[in-house]
Amino acid sequence: MNIASHIKYFVNVQVGARSYIRLKRRQGARKPRIPLNWNTKCLAPPLKIDGLTKELIALHYLSGRYADGRKSVAWVTSGAPVEILQALGYYVLYPENHAAVCGVKRKVVEIAGEAENAGYSRDICSYARTDIGAMLSGKSAVGQLPKPDLLLACTNICQTVLHWYRVLAHHFDIPLITIDTPFIYTESSDADIKYVKRQLEDSIPVAEQACSRRLKYKKLQDVLKMSKDASELWLQIMQRGRHRPAPISAFDQFIQMAPIVEMRGKSATVDFYAALLREVDERIEKGIGAVVHERKRLLWDNLPIWYRLRYLAEYLGERGIAVVASTYTNAWGELAPFMDENRPIESMAKTYIHPILNRSTGSKLETMKKMSEDFHLNGVILHSDRSCKPYSIGQIDQRNKLIREYGIPALLLEADHNDPRSFSEEQTASRLDAFVEMLEN
């Protein structure tokens, strides 16, 4: 840590960038800017908070650019128990989120191409290819990424992250903490939870050494409390989707979930979701629906298709179809009740073993069924994501059971969450057409 880095950070981020971004946001709030080709006939205007979301994310990445020499940097997986690192003052970066931003900004083919040229197969997860491509080439959609001092991978989302992060550990020559969460085929056992707890305990000295600091118990409790508060607010926001018309769509949620994934444990995140909840309630009061003439309501299963969000929102919106919930965004809220700042490590072990991706295919089906009932849904779109085997395996049976046993129309849509080369617009349109016809009958 040196003075020069601190000064650079202060001047560039705290003073310069912050003021600029804040100015832009205020300008935006004064005259809400609706993007040029926004289909206002079928979709509600963008959320007012969108400006703040962009600000938070921009500042987050910007402060990352000036992190070297100033803060210890950790790259972590989206489901990782990040609270320990937050409490230790790490700057935390999520390669998955960065990859998603590249996806939204249509830069994946170029960046993943760098990994593919280096020999990484097209058959591996597109998030991993984007990230490895970014690491090898320095290319990014958000400016320079700070080099990590530590890696943290938790297997509660998939096993792929292990292989991915070992590649990163090898390239950066830095320690990798793995938190291995046994998969829940039926129920989690005490032995499983104890195993996760012990790994969390074992990880503390490693994380401490990489940043030369000691973990303060009280700080960990505070961070966990904020994680819990933000998660609970997020859960409430998603629950508002039960209203008819739904005030926000799953597509909105995909964008607005960024802070809960990337900045979980920070007070700014709690404030953010409190503000979003207020805006959502305002929409409910005014009867504003995410889709202007909501006639049918759907659930989205699996990751978003990052490079075609608007296309899908409009395609369905034009037909009065609102995607009001998703198992994916729900994942970051449904675990809030497990978190307990009075027993941080123990409750973290319970929390992080239970995300939907670490639970059986049968449990996922139950979740879909329950959400369909709670949110009064007419059907389910199951995105068969080529890059995400843990989420995608089981979907064929889930789809069949939804249709045949629960009478819920369901569509299996083949694509990839980040790689547009695995997406066929023509095929998708024809399948959606057929599904829409099914919904009408």
């Binding site: 593919e116 040229n117 080369r421 066929s424």
Partner: protein, 256 residues
């Protein structure tokens, strides 16, 4: 009767069959190329009849067979892959190593040739039509453009319509959609060429380009391929003489 050849090389490819006779210095005495017929053995026998008519009895002359159908050439003393043979042929012709790109009807290859003419590394796209000449042929067919004119038409385009599909079948539906939207044929054709070239360039990058860059195979007749390959790699592209015969030539040299 002309001087007896010292060695023979035959390249039994999927689209064409080629035979070359060389003298003991590796100079080409005679060559013959014909469209590949479905039955390999009778066609090969035919070739031998022709070469015998020219030079007399060639049964003692060492022969190496290469190409897709090499195992069916019973007259051959040895069978060697077209990768090794192409490298050898091009090296002899041009006098140096480098990166050789061969885009065939059924597959495409990038071969790194070292300074002694040996294969140092190679990669092939042999699983999927989208990286081969077949991709252009079938998609150009959709656009009702003559295979021989494709390259010229593509180069004449001022703009380029990007084709995002990696699969030939999907690309066809993309093309139909673009035609329906009134996009010009040459614009689409240029995009298709770009698609193919991007795949080739990715293969080159995966090995690491060692200049000079050389091109062989039937597709060299397409001016757009050479031009766009040069554009994307920033290297000038060298063509050996008789680019379609390099496999057979290399085989003959290996037989010497």
């Amino acid at each position: 009767m002309p001087a007896n050849p010292a060695a023979l090389g035959i390249d039994v490819g999927s689209t064409t069959v080629k035979l070359i006779a060389v003298d003991r210095n590796g100079v080409i005495l005679w060559h013959h190329l014909k469209t590949a017929e479905p039955r390999v053995e009778p066609q090969v026998d035919n070739f031998f009849e022709m070469v015998s008519k020219k030079f007399g009895d060639v049964s003692d002359i060492p022969l190496v067979a290469t190409g897709y159908g090499r195992k069916l050439v019973r007259q051959a003393a040895r069978q060697i892959t077209e990768i090794t043979c192409h490298a050898r042929g091009v090296y002899q012709q041009l006098g140096h190593g480098g990166t050789l790109v061969d885009i065939g009807g059924q597959d495409s290859k990038v071969i790194i040739i070292n300074s002694s003419g040996q294969v140092e590394d190679f990669t092939m796209n042999d699983k999927c039509a989208a990286g081969t000449g077949r991709f252009l042929e079938s998609t150009a067919g959709r656009l009702h453009v003559d295979v021989d004119q494709m390259g010229t038409v593509a180069l004449a385009a001022q703009e380029e319509a990007p084709i995002s599909s990696t699969c030939t079948v999907f690309a066809e539906s993309e093309i139909i959609s673009k035609i329906a939207n009134g996009i010009a044929v040459e614009t689409i054709l240029k995009g298709l060429h770009r698609s193919l070239i991007s795949r080739i360039v990715a293969m080159i990058r995966s090995l690491g380009l060692i200049p000079p860059l050389m091109l062989s195979g039937g597709v060299v007749k397409n001016p757009a391929i050479r031009s766009m390959l040069s554009e994307e790699t920033g290297e000038s592209v060298i063509l050996p003489e008789l680019p379609q015969l390099m496999g057979a030539y290399g085989a003959a040299l290996m037989a010497l």
